[in-house]
């Protein structure tokens, strides 16, 4: 029973990381209709920014991490302007291929940066190693911070999209780009903004993931599991992405506990295929014509 509860906690914790990456992914998809296969790599780059500022630059953690998120935001906006803007209006296959190529490019370039390289780095964080015990279950503070940070970020994003002008403009762009353009919303600038937000969210996900997997150029493969999360949640749905991420995290941890060796690595994908066969629009998705 304790093992089960323990897995539950770590499942929710890793699920929060998947949820954040899936969130970034869905944000981009909703606003720009681009499927960003480089989301995991954005997470990896964000984690490396944090590593550079905190460990190599010796900034305090609470300053380094927001600064890393800001740098990641700038990076995301630049990526959108240079790579995705020329591809507006082209076939979706082309944009998929472009983001897949981008993912490979980011991974290779990250391994070539001096100081980053191909080794695994650890990101020093203030609560490393601290634990509390709650009735037999050991809760590491890192896990708790992950869950708390995710909740805070989701609340902040909800308030942003609901109550600020820019947020409402972004909602308009994700519903109907043409109409939003007619209403005076600068659509291309909004695209860059959503890429910036998405990259910042992924950077935070990377920082939260770092205690579990350490910072290395292969982190993007962890982010790849956010796609099943986004699909399971229903592709255009933000709360769906978050719940999908938690679902995937739980399935992974529980299959690590109960299923044979090796199932844990592919549990997310098996769940994805099973769901796609049974309910293609995901758990919360709206069944739009263009999906089936």
């Amino acid at each position: 029973m304790v093992g089960f509860l323990q897995s539950l906690v770590s499942g929710v914790s890793i699920g929060c990381v998947y949820a954040l990456v899936a969130l970034g992914f869905v944000l981009i998809y909703k606003a720009t209709e681009v499927v960003n296969f480089a989301q995991g790599e954005l997470m990896m780059v964000g984690a490396f920014f944090a590593f550079t500022l905190v460990d190599m630059g010796h900034l305090p953690f609470v300053i380094g991490v927001p600064l890393a998120m800001a740098c990641a935001a700038l990076f995301g906006a630049l990526l959108n302007q240079s790579l995705l803007r020329p591809l507006i209006g082209r076939s979706p296959f082309t944009t998929v291929l472009a983001t897949v190529a981008l993912a490979t490019l980011l991974r290779s370039l990250a391994s070539m940066v001096p100081g980053w390289g191909t080794q695994t780095h650890s990101l020093a964080n203030p609560v490393a190693g601290q634990k509390t015990q709650l009735g037999g279950v050991i809760l590491s503070h890192e896990h708790l911070i992950v869950i708390a940070a995710t909740l805070l970020l989701c609340a902040a994003l909800y308030l942003f999209f609901r109550f600020t002008r820019v947020g409402v403009a972004l909602q308009a762009v994700s519903q109907n780009q043409l109409a939003a353009g007619y209403c005076g919303v600068p659509v291309k600038r909004m695209h860059s903004l959503i890429w910036a937000i998405s990259a910042a969210v992924s950077a935070l996900a990377g920082v939260l993931l770092a205690p579990m997997t350490f910072v290395h150029t292969g982190m993007g493969y962890v982010g790849l599991k956010a796609f099943p999360a986004a699909v399971i949640g229903g592709f255009g749905s933000i709360p769906g992405a978050i719940l999908g991420g938690l679902f995937i995290g739980l399935i992974e941890e529980l299959s690590g506990l109960y299923a044979p060796e090796g199932v844990k690595h592919v549990a997310a994908y098996v769940a994805l295929l099973a769901l796609l066969v049974a309910r293609p629009q995901g758990l919360f998705g709206v069944s739009l014509r263009e999906r089936a």
Binding site: E33, L87, G89, V96, L105, M112, Y269, L273, E290
Partner: protein, 356 residues
């Protein structure tokens, strides 16, 4: 300018209707047959790899370029073909193991295609990606058959009394399979099946409205595509002579996508160009390394960075790939001096949801 003058119905039926096409392809055939004599041994080995990637590319092109089903996980079929032939050849001769590899890959292709039937576009891409991860995990874990991470050594091909113990002999086999695959692909594309596939690519709803049996055509496309890629994998296993799960990763799927995209997404010829590109590029990088600053030259990520940059460059500037460039050159000469620079510009569509 060139004018096409048809003088018989045969013209429309022939695979190579123009006499000059026949001349140039005949010359190409002679060059290909004489390659082992003309090329140094190292390049002959590379030519074998070009053939293998071209066959795999034909498979992926039939699925992605002609049926419009994006597959991000084609490495899985390659792996299935390689492992099937490696495992079966402990007990069976090559002439049985080879088609068996194709059939096994086709079976896996159908398994992957079944959940993909209801998906389109991005769901399909993610679904194929997920399937390929599952297949590679299965290969790595099923140690009783595949020997897991330790890999399998593959013996040379024996055809009756002949052992293909040199690159030259393997080259002829690969050439024969590639020509057969190309001929098969071209003929399928001219048949009602091929036209149905292209209809599905252009508009699924439209195809359904004119009575194209979507399920059957898509499954056949998946099966054919997987079979061709599986056969390429089987030949690959014999070329490299040692296979392990690490050779069939996502990077291989991306390489296959590079082959068909850079080659030119709308044509089978493109696969050959793409295969040549993908095999030549590492050589070019190796030569260029001597001129790069030492820090850059030593990086392990350099090759994939260059692949990715080339792919992005082609996507942005030359979306029709090398085949498109080839067509532009031909058009320049045939339309001289009336060639217009933008005569092959791509159409852009801004209406939502129109393209899938």
């Amino acid at each position: 300018m060139k004018f096409v003058r048809k003088t018989s119905y045969d013209y429309d039926l022939r695979l190579f209707p123009e006499p000059e096409d026949r001349f140039w392809y005949g010359l190409l055939a002679v060059a290909l047959l004489l390659a082992p004599v003309l090329l140094p041994p190292y390049f002959l080995g590379q030519a074998v790899l070009v053939g293998i990637y071209a066959i795999a590319g034909f498979g992926l092109m039939l699925l992605a370029g002609y049926t419009g089903q994006i597959s991000l996980g084609h490495a899985a079929f390659f792996a299935v073909g390689a492992y099937t032939t490696a495992v079966l050849e402990k007990t069976m001769p090559f002439v049985l193991a080879f088609p068996a590899a194709g059939l096994m890959a086709a079976a896996v292709g159908i398994l992957v295609g079944l959940p993909a039937l209801r998906l389109s576009g991005i769901y399909l891409a993610i679904g194929t990606l997920a399937s390929s991860f599952i297949v590679s995990e299965v290969i790595a874990r099923w140690e009783s058959v595949t020997r897991g991470a330790s890999g399998i050594t593959v013996a040379r091909i024996r055809l009756g009394d002949i052992v293909l113990d040199s690159d030259a002999k393997l080259y002829y086999l690969v050439l024969a399979v590639a020509v057969a695959a190309f001929w098969l692909g071209r003929n399928i594309l001219r048949s009602p099946l091929g036209i149905a596939m292209m209809a599905i690519r252009d508009s699924q709803t439209g195809a359904q409205s004119v009575g194209v049996p979507l399920v059957r055509v898509k499954l056949i496309a998946f099966a054919l595509s997987a079979a061709l890629t599986g056969l390429a994998g089987a030949l690959y296993a014999h070329k490299i002579q040692f296979i392990d799960p690490d050779q069939f990763t996502l990077l291989l799927s991306v390489e296959l996508l590079v082959v068909i995209f850079i080659g030119g997404i709308g044509s089978l010829h493109g696969c050959v160009f793409g295969a040549i590109f993908i095999i030549i590029l590492p050589q070019v990088i190796a030569i260029a390394k001597d001129h790069l600053p030492r820090y850059l030259a030593e990086q392990t990520g350099l090759q994939s960075a260059v692949y990715a940059t080339c792919l992005i460059g082609f996507i942005l500037f030359e979306p029709e790939g090398l085949h498109g460039i080839w067509l532009k050159i031909k058009r320049y000469f045939s339309m001289f001096p009336h060639y217009q620079r933008d005569s092959q510009k791509q159409q852009r569509s801004h209406a939502r949801g129109e393209s899938w």
